[in-house]
Amino acid sequence: MRVTADEATNTYAEARAELLARPGAPGAARRRALTALTDDWLHALYVASGAGEIGAALVAVGGLGRGDLAPGSDLDLLLLHNPNVSTAEVNSVADKLWYPVWDAGLRLDHSVRAPAEARRLAAQDIKVVLGLLDARTVVGDDALTKSVRESVLGDWRALAPRRLDELRLGVEERIARSGELAHLLEPDLKESYGGLRDLVALRAVAASWVTDAPVAALAPHRDLLLDVRDALHLVAGRPTDRLLQQEQTAVAQRLDLQGSDPSDSLLRQVSTAGRAVAYAADTTWHRVERLTRRSGVRGGLAATARKLRGTRTDRAPLADGVVVQDGEAVLATEARPERDAVLILRAAAAAAQAGLRLAPHAVDRLARDSAPMPEPWPASARDALVSLLGAGRAAIPVWEALDQADVWSRLIPEWSVVRSAPQRNPVHRFTVDRHLVETAIQSVAHARRVGRPDLLLIGALLHDIGKGRPGDHTDNGITIVQSLAPRMGFSPDDCDILVSLVRNHLLLPETATRRDLDDPATVAGVAAAVETQDVLDLLHALTEADAAATGPAAWSDWKKALIDDLVVRTRHELAGRPQPEAPRTTQAQLKLAEAVRLLSSQGVAVLLDEDEGTSITTVTVAAPDRTGLLSTVAGVLSLHRLQVRGAQVDTITAPDGSRRAVQVWTVTPAYGDPPPVERLREDVTRAVAGSLDVASRLDARDQAYAAPREVAAPRVDLVPGASERATVLEVRAHDAPALLHRVTRAIAAADVTITAARVATLGSEVVDVFYLVDRDGAVLSEARAATVRVTVLGALDPR
């Protein structure tokens, strides 16, 4: 019985809807089922179209061709026809095939071609080649499909060096555009490097016969990425491949991922898969480049084969048991990893120092046969690890190669927890383990500045080793390094320094950006924590390397200037010398003097200074003192879209005997140039006089902002012992317009004076610290401080 196209479409639509609505995790079986359903439907459409009578084949390419159709996938279809059929006939058949697909609401990528045309297009457009790699006859004359496949693959192999180069350029552009799957918080499962597109590209490389690509070994990773994509399509209800944060929890649940944080486990799995694919792609492309570049213009298989055979005479020694062969580091014939535990690190270091990669077979053999590392590690092993990291950028491919073979988790068991662990903070660019390696590599630049570069590199490698576990990552890290460093063979003194680096790795940036450097307690506290000059230098270098490895949002000239200042002051404190006159203060004092001079009896003075080169602007405001003045000015600055980085507050007596508040603000424009000082002055004057209602202007502006998505609740803490002169209040919250204005308004409402403020913005999170005193300039009583804390909390979280 012949089925009409409409009947077939209705049956398909029902069966498809039923399949997609089935509860439970998606998987390969469902993809096959969806592909089979789709094939049946296309078969019926083909029969109804009369295509069989003109001699044609309906060919599935892309996802449908591979049999892994996702719920939101396009149908990539090619109608191949005999060349001697008239255009009118072909068009009529094609209409009967394509229109039902469009009418069913599915996305269609279609083409109609004679075999010669398909071959010609494949020669012009690499995407056509990639599509035809997976070409599969759904229905019709399979001989047509085979002939096209064979001719296209023949051309592909014949011109492999040039065409692979073209493909590689495309991959590089895609990396620049879509980032790396392994390290993104919101990766694109298809486009990011290490994603589904790269698996297709690897198949194209393998099909060129230039070199093998480990396509089969990547199958489990491919399945995982496809499962995640299926779940994402179902959860999001649209054909997206970008795993956005808002969807991650639902996707993880759809995939039945267990554990306390399923979305964390989802990201970790995606990252692991992306990393394996990216590593395979790296290695494969590296090989392609070696084999095709050197085979010269003539290229072709003969040259490739000559290269692959290689000869003994090519081998040059690199280190004990390690030789260079054909541009890669390989093991020497006499090398015995089963008796030489350090060989694995020595080979890695030698390869990285020479700017080479470790050949995959060398990695396999080292990973499989290496004798277990004795504990404590011999000095040569430590030296080799330091030398590997000290090679800088060149260490990354070597590190990744050994990581794929799971070498690091065996040498350093604690590594397995940070491996591919996602960083739940948009400031970070990399997963935890890669961040650690990046930090070590960044710290190479500071090696000359410190007395013990080896401890700097190892400290950098271990500073965040406590992440990915419950509890505070610094506390975890201390415990880990206390047992790990002795196992690595470090002397007790060196172990203490490494532990101190882990314990204090956030000390300098946090203190510099959140504490008043003029308060003697601040510098004394840092000096007590670091104890020696050497540790201070190591921490200084580690801090810069850590920030550089984190991402552009973690570092600024402003932060650097503060940290440098703190280090100088701490150095004096440790040496027992008096504190130098800090240039920042002198500058501020000059401003104060000028401001006071400018003051008319009731007037408001506003000065604005731009520091060339750092984009930091200083705004000095002098006005009659009253409670809430800080909040008013903060509001005006926010209205002018100036982001506050810090504020220093003083009260002085003007020549006429009245009390004047002088505020020195460090600000950066949110974008563009700072506003003209006249406009700022006018607005501050009006706001102080009460004719500009800052609060309502800000409220009106807030309305224009979309309400933030779910954010963590704000935190307000009192920091005991941070200062002897004032009560220190620390506010952590999700950044929002005029946040500082709201907080300071709340503090003013509690009738408390702010003497200094430090404001730090880290990505979307802010950490504001306020130094508070009562009306008489004394530290707040405990009860008073607690009240202020609650008031501020209330202002932040109106719900």
Partner: protein, 112 residues
């Protein structure tokens, strides 16, 4: 009042114009546009290459009409722009608060 906007195939513009004139609409704004919908950017329906999504040239036509005319005008455009092929376009209408004729300052339906 309503603003009727139509995205149509460029070669259908003359047909649509005559159909609208026959209906009694004498003013319209026509501009060149490009985009894609379910047609997915294949200019020649059967010669597209896989994965490429290009923008296809279209004509955008805008007509201001009184409320009671809107449905009929949409109908007239749909009928006259139809080829039955993929990529024929879309027509929609949205309410309009105010219209003023610049030369005279007339407001509302008088300004149409």
């Amino acid at each position: 009042m309503k603003l009727v906007t139509a995205i149509i195939k460029p070669f259908k513009l003359d047909d649509v114009k005559s159909a609208l004139e026959a209906y009694g609409i004498h003013g319209m704004t026509v501009s060149e546009a490009s985009g894609y919908g379910r047609q997915r950017g294949h200019t020649e329906v059967y010669r597209g290459a896989e994965y490429t999504v290009d923008l296809v040239p279209k004509v955008r036509l805008e007509v201001l009409v009184e409320d009671h005319d809107a449905d009929s005008v949409v109908e007239v455009i749909v009928k006259s722009a139809q080829t039955g092929r993929i990529g024929d376009g879309k027509v929609w209408s949205v309410p309009v608060d105010t219209v003023a004729r610049v030369r005279t300052g007339e407001r509302g339906p008088d300004a149409l």
